[in-house]
């Protein structure tokens, strides 16, 4: 703080003239306005989205829109349950397949891998994030889905006793392929966050476990994993947020069938895919229903991401409290990881 100007104009020789203080004030308030504008923008967008979605909600009710199993555009029926379930099925599948693999990658890179290979491994996993969604879709529909079809058929025949999994004929685009592609797409972020959280485990804990005679796996199980459980769960939730919102790759490989698929290897639809696919031709109530689908999607990702942030932030807080880190390290900021 500068010394306040004295009344009468005879200010201290150390104080700046009012004119010289002007750029400082301008910068400060300019930047504050910018930050406030971002807030205003998001609130404005949200209100407008609700406004555009209102006719659809008025038509069927919010509850009916979200939980009616009937999406029939030509009959003006807009029950988004097949879409919501499609989103949930594919995202759950992505977590089921993607998270164990991502955590294994993180453990391997942090605890087992020869030091020389560590950087190469992390760079390779991060490269998965550099491939655009539409390229995954292209690869998924022309390579992955056709190649997987016989395997899926075999699985479907063997597991036909489990409802929803087995039974019917396997189509080339289906829920399973969409889930698998999503698993590949969330792998880099889940792995990156798991690695960051594992790096915060104090060396003392690990050395103590090894010193007591634990094998390397016992050390990982007793010292590393419990310490970063909430961080890993948070990373998985951020991955879930990504999976729920992922649009183009899913649109290409899920089959775009506007009713709930009869089984896991059948065609389906998702909230994001329906918008990408139908918005171009949509009019009136149909368009409003697609805005409503966007709103449901928005709220869903908001909830999942909010929960994820709380978990990741709590994880990095407890680790900081347990072991004050040297400032030269990379800060375990959840947001930065999510963004990068």
């Amino acid at each position: 703080m500068q010394t306040a100007a004295m009344p009468g104009g005879d200010r201290s020789i150390l104080a700046r003239s009012p004119l010289a203080r002007l750029p400082d004030r301008a910068l400060r308030w300019g930047l504050t306005t910018l930050a406030a504008l971002i807030l205003a923008l998001i609130v404005y967008f949200f209100i407008r989205l609700v406004g555009e979605a209102r006719p659809a909600f008025a038509h069927t009710g919010v509850f009916g829109f979200t939980f009616d199993n009937n999406w029939n555009v030509s009959a003006d029926k807009f029950g988004a349950l097949p879409l919501v379930l499609g989103t949930l099925i594919t995202s759950a599948l992505a977590l089921l397949i993607g998270v164990p693999v991502a955590v294994a990658t993180a453990i391997y890179a942090n605890e087992l891998c020869p030091l020389r290979l560590r950087t190469a491994l992390t760079v390779l996993v991060e490269l998965l994030a550099a491939v655009p969604s539409v390229v995954y879709g292209l690869w998924g529909i022309f390579f992955l889905a056709p190649k997987l079809q016989p395997i899926e058929q075999w699985l479907a025949d063997r597991l036909s006793f489990i409802p929803f999994i087995g039974g019917g004929a396997v189509t080339i685009p289906n829920y399973f392929v969409a889930g698998l592609i999503l698993a590949i797409m969330i792998l880099p972020i889940v792995s990156a966050i798991s690695r960051e959280v594992m790096a915060t485990v104090p060396a003392d804990h690990k050395e103590a476990a090894l010193g007591l005679g634990a094998t390397r796996w016992e050390m990982i199980r007793t010292a590393v994993l419990p310490y970063c459980r909430s961080g890993i769960v948070g990373g998985a939730m951020l991955g879930l947020g990504r999976a729920i919102g992922e649009t183009i790759a899913v649109t290409i490989v899920i089959g775009d069938a506007p009713q709930l698929g009869s089984h896991l290897f059948g065609q389906g639809y998702s909230l994001a895919a329906v918008i990408a696919n139908e918005f171009g031709e949509a009019q009136g109530l149909h368009r409003s229903a697609l805005f409503a689908a966007g709103l449901v999607l928005f709220v869903l990702t908001l909830l999942v991401n909010g929960l994820a942030r709380v978990l990741v932030i709590r994880a990095s807080r407890t680790s900081e409290a347990a072991a004050p880190r040297v400032s030269s390290g990379v800060q375990p900021s959840a947001g930065a990881v999510a963004g990068a």
């Binding site: 910068l27 910018l34 989205l49 990658t105 490269l127 969604s133 094998t215 966007g294 999942v304």
Partner: protein, 298 residues
Amino acid sequence: MSTPGTAPDQFARFAVSPARRRKDKAARVTIAAGTAIALVPLALVVYYLLSKGLGSWSPDFFTTDPTGNTFFKSSSIGGIKSAILGTVEIVALASVIAIPIGVGVAVWLVEYGRNSWFANTVRFFVDVLTGVPSIVFGLFIYIVLIVGTGSSYAGYKGSLALALLMLPVVIRSAEVILLLIPGALRESALALGAPRWRVIFSIVLPTALPGMVTGVLLAIARAAGETAPLLFTAATTRNTNLNLGQFMNSLPVQIYNDVTSPTTAVVNRAWGAALTLVVMILLLNLIARLVSRRSRLA
């Protein structure tokens, strides 16, 4: 460790039992296998991109616009010139919008807002933005600039949608870098009598520059690959169009439209376009890595 030969009986009770050793081995193998599985899709994607994409690359591929002749011979379907130019232009405008705003907000968060409730609210909303699905950004821009104004699709509307997508990435990465700048640096400048704005412009920003370039390039790379926000904002056209006020083609949208074609030649054009897009994005990533290696902070 047991040391066989010297004094086996003395140390035998400290040895790891065979069962535990087996378990350790099994766990290690499983973890290594999981890591290998993670790398399989990368290898497959790269292999297919190269084998299919390189086949459709030719001088003509980069210098002609796509034509509508999708049912004829491959020579008449055209290339991806308009898509490349459109992507470059749309992403460039998005960067020009998102980078100054993003860096400005990050500077405010670190230099002025710090841990005030307002700054934390802004941080929370920036995190919210990070999680918003990219197609919802497209819907936002559609509502405001197309429903709102009654006009049609245009390149700059696509840029705005991408800018919204880049904004949280730029803000959070710039904030992390700015936080790494030692407080002593700011304090010495202030002690020498420099006003706050000079400290920011002459000390803080130049020091943070290399680190921030990395985050910015990664944000650009992410935006360049996005399809969903462009579908209902910049839409698509086949012709080369350098006017951001009109319909514009872009690489991701071109690939998306070609994927559904029943003609092999058109699908091959999609592979060629996909390889082009991935090469562009990887170049940005590579530059980002090189710059970050030169940075003294991160």
